[in-house]
């Protein structure tokens, strides 16, 4: 097995493991938020949570796949490590960005949910007929 191939395999293993870890964290901790947003409706919260995590996986794995190619032959361990750290570092930053976007989505959903719950405080005295 060539050094380049070993670098690729290591890159894939590390990146995929990181993606799985972040996705699980998101899945586990996002549920509480979503339950709050959907008024403790568990099935809806779980469904949205699952869909968000699927999107997260697709974007990250897609990026990891696109970003695989090193473009030159790796000759020794040092070069392999350098290439690997560059690749994994970019993947980490992309993971972080997507993760924050996800958090933003959660926060916005929660705020919307609360605003909606802010119904009018008094009942109308009369309704005008529709024109």
């Amino acid at each position: 097995m060539s050094a380049t191939l070993i670098t690729y395999l290591l890159y894939l293993a590390i990146s995929i493991a990181l993606t799985i870890w972040v996705a699980r964290t998101l899945h586990k901790n996002g549920r509480v938020f979503l339950l709050d947003v959907f008024g403790q409706n568990e099935s809806l919260a779980d469904s949205v949570n699952h869909l968000l995590v699927v999107g997260f996986y697709l974007i990250n794995l897609g990026y990891i796949a696109l970003h695989l190619e090193i473009g030159h032959v790796v000759v020794d361990a040092v070069e392999g490590l350098e290439a690997l750290s560059g690749k994994v570092g970019t993947v980490l930053i992309v993971l972080g960005l997507v993760h924050f976007v996800n958090l933003l989505v959660f926060a916005r959903m929660r705020r919307r949910g609360r605003e909606k719950a802010e119904g009018i405080p008094v009942r109308p005295d009369e309704w005008l007929p529709e024109r």
Binding site: E118, P121, P124, D125, E126, E130
Partner: protein
């Protein structure tokens, strides 16, 4: 609810001052102000009792809900970012009758108060 229309008494100084105060606040729900029983108000709400709107504050939502007197005041406060908690407080069953008495007193004495 996207917008509230406030029908106020433009012949009363206190009411005009209140309208300007409301207009200067940051709003969670947009408000527009029309003088009660004015041609614009009558054109906008042909089915509304405009004689009554001249006597007490009226607030009309974009979906046709009409609020009068204390209810109208609560809705005005509720539309403001800073005073929404006050609106909730005033709207409590224990407080609403007091608010109604206060608003009624203000409405009957408004011309004297504004002088």
């Amino acid at each position: 609810m996207q917008r509230l229309t406030v029908l106020y008494d433009s012949d009363c100084r206190l009411c005009r001052a209140a309208r300007h105060w409301l207009d200067g606040q940051r709003m969670l729900v947009r408000m527009r102000f029309l003088p009660a029983a004015s041609p614009e108000a009558k054109q906008a709400y042909p089915n509304l009792d405009h004689d009554r709107a001249r006597q007490e504050l009226h607030v009309v939502s974009d979906r046709g809900a009409v609020f009068r007197g204390a209810h109208a005041w609560v809705m005005c406060l509720w539309a403001l970012e800073r005073y929404r908690p006050w609106a909730r407080l005033a709207a409590r069953p224990a407080n609403l009758p007091k608010a109604e008495r206060l608003v009624h007193w203000l409405a009957t004495h408004r011309h004297r108060l504004g002088r």
